[in-house]
């Protein structure tokens, strides 16, 4: 069932230069699918069909898709709230997105968690908790496990916004990755606002990439509105990490083209930013680039759009038919060790 909701098998790159235009086209199609899917959920939200919040990655698809595409089987991915494009490129089914947003029992979170708080940790896709920066050390630990288990050539990527760089968890985890020389790719998307807080109330350094030297890791800056640059920068950083060069810190600059969530009208976003290069819509930039390079024409773009729309409509229709969780049938047990639930008989312990 799940496979029909994937555009294609997840891209599995080797550590070589990005192959244009195939990679670029594939990236664009995931960005487009993410945009269409999120717009559909936003419209369902406005229609009162979504319980809880809706958080969009509008304007952030280029950096996100580049991260998801640079990873391969066995790698770890810890996306944040604006990483729908990266999730699809990493191999998450569109159904995981729609089932979770619609609270279906059959989704990966079974109605126990919602919206962007979803994942399949067995498949390397971590379900974020809301506490910013907290997923990075979890990725570190998975990479430490790979080292213990002699699983070679794997990397882990974690995505954060610029606001998360103010947390202790960010500091502890990036320092930890540096000390352990882990193949961590930490992607910071500086979209100028953390909820409503502008950067001058968030940090005082000139450029977030300057933090890299303080941690002893490699730093990269990239225009987050330019898909080519994102593919090349992230691709290069992932290759470097895979080749044993240690943690890579990437700072991508863009503008959040939506509210923090769909409940937020984002009136605080300065007009000044909208007129800058970082205020461009990365999807428009990519589309114009493909047309200019003749990597696609208008009819191809139209077919891709309609393909995305029909995939999304199907996934939503399927998910709307799925039953909601039933409190009477719910397994109200937070423990994997069922015998340790209070009221259950204790089991004997045999010591070696």
């Amino acid at each position: 069932m799940h496979d029909m909701f994937r555009l294609a098998e997840a891209h599995r790159p080797s550590c070589t230069a990005v192959e244009f235009p195939e990679t670029y086209r594939r990236a664009y199609r995931w960005m487009l699918l993410a945009r269409v899917a999120e717009e559909k959920i936003a419209s369902l939200f406005r229609g009162g069909r979504i319980i809880g919040g809706v958080f969009l990655g509008r304007g952030q698809e280029a950096i996100s898709v580049a991260t998801g595409m640079a990873l391969r089987d066995g790698d770890i991915f810890a996306p944040l709230i604006r990483d729908q494009a990266g999730r699809l490129a990493f191999g998450e089914s569109l159904l995981d997105f729609t089932l979770t947003y619609l609270g279906a029992r059959s989704g990966p979170m079974r109605g126990r968690d919602g919206n962007v708080h979803r994942g399949r940790p067995k498949e390397g896709l971590l379900p974020m908790i809301s506490h910013l920066g907290a997923m990075v050390s979890v990725v570190n630990g998975m990479l430490m496990a790979h080292r213990f288990q002699k699983k070679e050539n794997t990397v882990g990527a974690a995505c954060l916004g610029e606001g998360a760089t103010s947390t202790g968890a960010f500091h502890e985890s990036l320092n930890q990755a540096a000390v352990e020389k882990l193949p961590l790719i930490l992607v910071i998307t500086n979209n100028q606002y953390a909820y409503s807080t502008p950067n001058h109330r968030q940090f005082a350094c000139n450029d977030l990439v300057d933090k890299a030297i303080g941690y002893g890791v490699k730093g990269h800056s990239v225009d987050g509105t330019d898909l080519s640059a994102c593919l090349e920068t992230i691709g290069g950083a992932v290759c470097a990490a895979r080749d044993g060069e240690g943690p890579q810190l990437i700072i991508a600059s863009n503008l959040r083209l939506a509210g923090h969530g769909e409940h937020d009208d984002a009136h605080y976003i300065s007009q000044h930013f909208k007129e800058l290069q970082l205020g461009r819509d990365c999807l428009d930039v990519a589309q114009n680039h493909m047309l200019a390079q003749k990597w696609a024409d208008a009819s191809m773009l139209d077919i891709w759009l309609r393909d995305s729309q029909s995939l999304v409509e199907e996934a939503v229709a399927h998910s709307l038919r799925e039953p909601a969780p039933d409190p009477a049938k719910e397994d109200w047990c937070a423990l994997a060790s069922r015998h340790l639930l209070e009221g259950n008989p204790p089991q004997p312990t045999h010591l070696n």
Binding site: I129, V139, G141, E172, S337, L340
Partner: protein
């Protein structure tokens, strides 16, 4: 003879020996052997599996969670229980929710050197079991004996859920046993540490020994006091507590931790709700004072319950 601290070290040695998935991570735990020497010589015996961490409790726990998701069985040593609050978020929001949210177990053991010792002061003396027990998804162990320190730590590593292992620093060197146990009560099962018929003391960790000393004192006055060692705070063995109260009709809950919303409050709530008709007198509890833990031994000795204050409480209970 083997001490409580040596039992903890031996349990870790055994866990490393038995299971290649086990590793130890914490501040100074490597070549140095830990602030209390709970990992002494383990780094030499198990190269690459006993790792010094930076002073980063959040990242220590976060990475252990990640490793556990990938099939490892990490043991994290907090240098002092008090410092675990820096890693609190990872424990209660990441580790404790993982199985419920994803169906994937998160088998980590977090060792918390807990409790007061003379001169330790506000930030090296805390008992945080109630704080962690509040959160669903965690197991709370509070061993009071050398045998339990060994057996329960081995069990903690084997359990598929996150275990908060509260080992008491006051017992590290004071408490000795002849040998390590071959078998043990399971987690979730309390132990009758001393049988009696006149009143029940329900307690755990170092307070078991203060309560036993109080029971000795009361015995000279003709009272027979039953002492229950809970062993695990969560799950809490309500059955053993109620069975004891059914025998004695009187209950005193004793904890070294602060009183508000703590383990003793939970015990008495259960006794009142499920065993009200077993009681011949209002239930009582005794905790530390509701202030930070003081530094000076004169103050500390009064701040926490002692054999003397437990005996005084028991006399009130027995006369009511």
């Amino acid at each position: 003879m083997i001490t409580y601290l040596e039992a903890i070290r031996e349990a870790q040695r055994q866990a490393l020996e038995n299971d290649p998935r086990v590793y130890i991570y914490g501040q100074d735990v490597g070549a140095f052997g830990g602030a209390f020497k709970a990992t002494k010589s383990l780094a030499q015996s198990f190269p690459g599996r006993v790792l010094d961490s930076p002073i980063s409790e959040d990242a220590m726990v976060g990475s252990a969670i990640g490793a556990a998701l990938q099939g490892m069985r990490p043991i994290v040593e907090m240098q002092f229980a008090d410092f675990s609050t820096v890693g609190f978020n990872q424990i209660v929001n990441q580790a404790a929710t993982m199985f419920w949210r994803t169906g994937l177990p998160c088998p980590i053991t977090v060792r918390l050197p807990s409790g007061g010792t003379p001169g330790s002061g506000p930030f090296h003396s805390q008992n945080l079991e109630a704080l962690y027990a509040h959160y669903p998804g965690l197991i709370l162990m509070t061993p009071a004996t050398v045998e339990d320190a060994y057996a329960m730590l081995l069990e903690a590593v084997a359990i598929d859920d996150p275990v908060i292992f509260c080992e008491h620093k006051y017992l590290y060197y004071h408490l000795k046993a002849d040998s390590l146990p071959k078998e043990a009560l399971p987690a979730g099962k309390a132990r009758v540490a001393r049988a009696g018929r006149d009143a029940t003391v329900v307690t755990y960790s170092a307070m078991v020994h203060e309560s036993l000393a109080a029971a000795d004192e009361l015995a000279t006055e003709g009272w027979e006091i039953e002492v229950i060692d809970l062993r695990t705070i969560k799950p809490l063995d309500t059955d053993t507590v109620l069975a004891s109260v059914a025998r004695t009709g009187r209950v005193l809950a004793v904890g070294e931790a602060w009183p508000w919303g703590g383990v003793t409050a939970e015990i008495l709530a259960r006794v009142a709700a499920e065993g009200f008709n077993l009681l011949d007198a209002p239930p009582m509890r005794l905790n530390s004072k509701d202030t930070p833990v003081p530094y000076h031994p004169n103050l500390w000795g009064t701040h926490r319950p002692t054999a003397r204050s437990i005996a005084d409480s028991l006399r009130v209970l027995l006369r009511s």
